[in-house]
């Protein structure tokens, strides 16, 4: 699963720490999400989408078996 977190974060000039604080996670989690090493839970995906004012489908790109 890919995501546009880094792209959106940079376009809005938000630091990783600020995003981490807003989502109540550690900065390391944001780094791992951006690097694609960790897949967010539904709750975290929802929070991230809310933070960027977008939808989960817009923020996360589901590929292959991740779709019906």
């Amino acid at each position: 699963m890919k995501n546009k977190i880094q792209e959106l974060r940079k376009s809005r000039r938000v630091t990783q720490q600020e995003l981490a604080d807003a989502l109540s996670v550690t900065r390391q989690t944001i780094i791992s999400l951006e690097n694609g090493k960790y897949n967010a839970s539904l709750t975290l995906a929802h929070k991230a989408a809310q933070f960027f004012g977008t939808t989960i489908e817009e923020l996360f790109i589901f590929e292959g078996d991740e779709n019906i």
Binding site: A20, V25, T26, T29, S32, T43
Partner: protein
């Protein structure tokens, strides 16, 4: 956050009670283990002292956390971070598989020299397997 603070306060209270009753427990253990072989007695006392030291350390750590709003928030995030939880889950799973394999190997190796040790290790593996099945059945019903 308030619930987390309450949880930490309760933990600190339990730890403080354990620390305060340390001397009583020490004398009680001393009395209860009277006549027990020196090695076993030393082991029991060692475990108890280790637990006391750990309890003092955690009680102090909790007091520091509870005295600073910033540190408390940091700890709350660290403890509730879903990636940390996922890492812990994976670590526990991998570590238990490795421990099980090593215990099985040790059991086989010990069989050549000390059958009692081998049987003890085999019993440990069996107990671990039973506990795993029971815990899995519990979560299977719960989720």
């Amino acid at each position: 956050m308030e619930e987390f603070r309450r949880k930490l306060k309760t933990k600190r209270m339990i730890l403080t009670m354990f620390c305060m009753s340390g001397l009583c427990i020490y004398f009680a253990l001393n009395w209860l283990t009277d006549g027990v072989p020196d090695f076993a007695r030393g082991l029991i006392m060692g475990i108890f002292v280790g637990m006391e030291v750990a309890a003092v350390y955690y009680a102090v750590r909790l007091t520091v956390l509870l005295s600073s709003e910033e540190k408390l928030k940091e700890e709350y995030i660290k403890e509730n971070d879903e990636r940390n939880a996922a890492i812990q889950k994976e670590t526990a799973r991998t570590a238990s598989v490795i421990s099980l394999m090593l215990a099985a190997l040790a059991s086989v190796a010990a069989g050549f020299f000390q059958p009692v040790v081998s049987m003890t290790l085999a019993a440990d593996i069996l107990a671990g397997a039973i506990i795993t099945v029971v815990v899995q059945a519990y979560y299977n019903k719960k989720m």
